[in-house]
């Protein structure tokens, strides 16, 4: 099956690595932001905006957006090539898988651009 033409790096090992590195970035960002809101109960607009206008926070957020895009692509690619196969759904599998991957890719691209606009709009 020529399914690896759609994987992120054309290399399973590199995808494996990208998935783990992006996972660590996503975990750090999630825990940081969750910790920030949990430990700042009366959070106000100025403080919230102030956090996101810091350079390091913008870099951290953008890094997370990139990591999220890569992580989502590798994850959805793995799921779709595992389960949307001719064995599971017959001769239309390639079409279905292609459309599924295209939809995921489009959604992630929209989220990425939207995220950049939010961060740069401050």
């Amino acid at each position: 099956m020529v399914t690896n033409v759609t994987n992120l790096s054309r290399s399973g090992l590199y995808d494996w690595m990208a998935q783990r590195v992006s996972a660590v970035v996503l975990a750090l960002y999630t825990l940081f932001l969750l910790g920030y809101v949990v430990f700042n109960p009366g959070l106000g607009y100025e403080e919230w905006r102030g956090l996101f206008s810091q350079n390091w926070m913008r870099i951290f957020s953008l890094l997370t957006l990139v990591a999220l895009s890569a992580h989502a692509w590798v994850g959805m690619w793995t799921i779709s090539t595992d389960y949307l196969t001719p064995m599971a759904m017959g001769k239309w599998a390639t079409t279905v898988r292609f459309l599924f991957q295209a939809a995921c890719g489009l959604a992630m691209f929209v989220f990425f651009v939207w995220g950049v606009q939010i961060l740069w709009g401050i």
Binding site: A23, A27, T30, Y45, W48, R49, A72, G115, I118
Partner: protein
């Protein structure tokens, strides 16, 4: 998760847009249904995170056996349930 990302990005967008947007985001999060959605979103995210940490531990060669793998998955479920309950307490 895709719908969850859209929900969270939207809240981030309006909360950073203006003082009014921030208040609006806060009041949206006060709504009982939005609280349920937030709980669902964060539960899914944190379960994914905790199960992901188990994957990294297994990559390091720990807990790969049949018995230890079983125990590892049980530990993930237990920790996730505790975290999800705490999350619910925090939200409500």
């Amino acid at each position: 998760m895709f719908a969850a990302i859209a929900f969270m990005l939207w809240l981030l967008d309006i909360s950073l847009d203006s003082e009014r947007g921030f208040e609006q985001a806060l009041s949206i999060l006060q709504h009982p249904f939005a609280k349920l959605v937030t709980w669902g979103v964060l539960s899914a995210l944190l379960y994914h995170l905790i199960a992901g940490v188990r994957h990294l531990v297994m990559d390091a060669g720990v807990g790969e056996g049949l018995e230890s793998g079983k125990r590892g998955s049980q530990v993930v479920i237990v920790i996730s349930v505790i975290v999800i309950v705490l999350l619910g307490v925090w939200i409500w």
